[in-house]
């Protein structure tokens, strides 16, 4: 496929931004649908933090790729295949258990990543990351509380958590994959080697799952491809919905 942006640094910041935007949109889809008012507010607050993090990184990507694109250009006028987010963030919300498991897996990964990016050689990336560390630790706390409460809850809530975990776990392998882009990013001190984030991620997630009386699933299926723009089926529908207004009324502002 045609490269979306030139240069490994721009691809790296774009990937990180796309993870934030896509997860933000998924969480925003809960607005007015969450099981309690408090969680409607919590999920949309988390979505807002992620949107802010995405904006900071899109702004930096535009400088790195030299195209002068705006944040809206990245969000609204790229096609599905041009998004380079990981597959985990694009998975459908499902029931509340599925969203909580996805939040636990994602926020634990993002917190480890932001902590590493806070010392990035790229000052703007480091600035976005330093703010994001504080925000994401709240996101991880929220997911942790709910994981324990539902996993170690009723028979029904335990079963739902178990099946959510089985469905989402295979997508976590992709988070720690290296390729030419991550190698270049780590060589220039822009971002960490993804594998270096694994021990902390695995340690934290296993601890929480144990507290939640859940077992880490065994899986040999490890889907990948998001970083190359090859997405799972639900993503196309999400992008169509997310971009609908901007595609129908180009340049719309409010």
């Amino acid at each position: 496929m045609t490269p979306v942006v030139a240069g490994a640094a721009a691809v790296y910041t774009l990937r990180t931004a796309d993870d934030c935007l896509v997860l933000s949109h998924r969480l925003a889809q809960w607005s007015s649908w969450a099981p309690t008012l408090e969680d409607d507010i919590a999920l949309t607050n988390i979505a807002l933090d992620l949107l802010g993090q995405a904006r900071g990184l899109y702004a930096r990507t535009a400088e790195l790729d030299g195209t002068g694109r705006t944040e809206d250009d990245y969000a609204f006028i790229r096609d599905e295949r041009e998004f380079v987010n990981c597959l985990l963030v694009e998975q459908e919300n499902g029931d509340f258990a599925t969203t909580i498991v996805r939040q636990l897996l994602c926020s634990t990964y993002q917190l480890a990543l932001w902590q590493a990016l806070a010392t990035s050689t790229d000052e703007q990336v480091a600035a976005v990351a330093s703010k994001a560390v504080k925000e994401t630790s709240y996101h991880r706390d929220h997911a942790t509380d709910w994981t324990v409460r539902l996993g170690d809850g009723t028979e029904e809530s335990h079963l739902r958590m178990e099946s959510a975990l089985a469905a989402l776990w295979p997508f976590t392998g992709e988070l720690f994959e290296s390729d030419a882009v991550t190698s270049e990013a780590s060589a220039i001190g822009l971002g960490p080697d993804p594998q270096a984030l694994w021990p902390e991620w695995e340690g934290y997630v296993s601890r929480v799952l144990r507290d939640a009386t859940l077992v880490v699933p065994e899986s040999s299926w490890a889907p990948t491809g998001g970083r190359q723009g090859l997405h799972t089926e639900p993503f196309g529908y999400m992008v169509a919905e997310m971009q609908h207004l901007h595609r129908s009324f180009p340049g719309a502002t409010w």
Binding site: L48, R55, A127
Partner: protein, 159 residues
């Protein structure tokens, strides 16, 4: 034309759009105001949270305020580093928050852990309160309940 101190205090007195009892100076959002020899004004503001939706409004309010001070040439920059912290909130801001019904954030200690003081109920001043929800009506607030008077109240989260 007004002096730099006058511009700075005028900009600092702009109310926060989401918590109008507080000014952007009280919250530590206004970071710097500079005027160069040609009369160009640069203003630095910082967001409380990454996606804070009030920031665009604050930027417009600052631009309008500086122009009203007699400086038509103004640039408002959004700076992320160093990251905003509730420790930058002024003492006056904390008092106003409490009067507004929001428990103010506690100060961080030297090691960045929170000083072990209780969050007080802004209504009855009881120190026996507990958190109901991490997230509240804005990104910077949590919801707590007082064990003394039973009322729920917002708490400006330490950040």
């Amino acid at each position: 034309m007004n002096s730099i101190d006058e511009i700075r205090s005028a900009a600092g007195a702009i109310p926060d759009p989401e918590m109008p009892a507080l000014t952007i100076a009280d919250l530590g959002i206004l970071r710097d105001v500079r005027v160069d020899a040609s009369g160009h004004v640069d203003v630095d503001i910082t967001p409380t949270y990454s996606g804070c939706p009030a920031l665009d409004t604050i930027r417009e309010d600052v631009e309008r305020c500086i122009r009203d001070q007699g400086y038509p040439d103004v640039t408002v920059r959004i700076v992320l580093s160093p990251a905003w912290t509730t420790d930058w909130m002024s003492e006056a801001g904390r008092v106003k928050l409490r009067e507004y019904g929001i428990a103010p954030p506690r100060q961080h200690g030297f090691d960045l852990t929170l000083l072990t003081v209780a969050v007080q109920c802004p209504r009855c001043e009881s120190s026996r309160t507990h958190e109901l929800a991490h997230f509240g009506s804005t990104q910077c607030q949590a919801v707590r309940q007082c064990d003394g008077c039973g009322e729920t109240f917002p708490h400006f989260k330490e950040h």
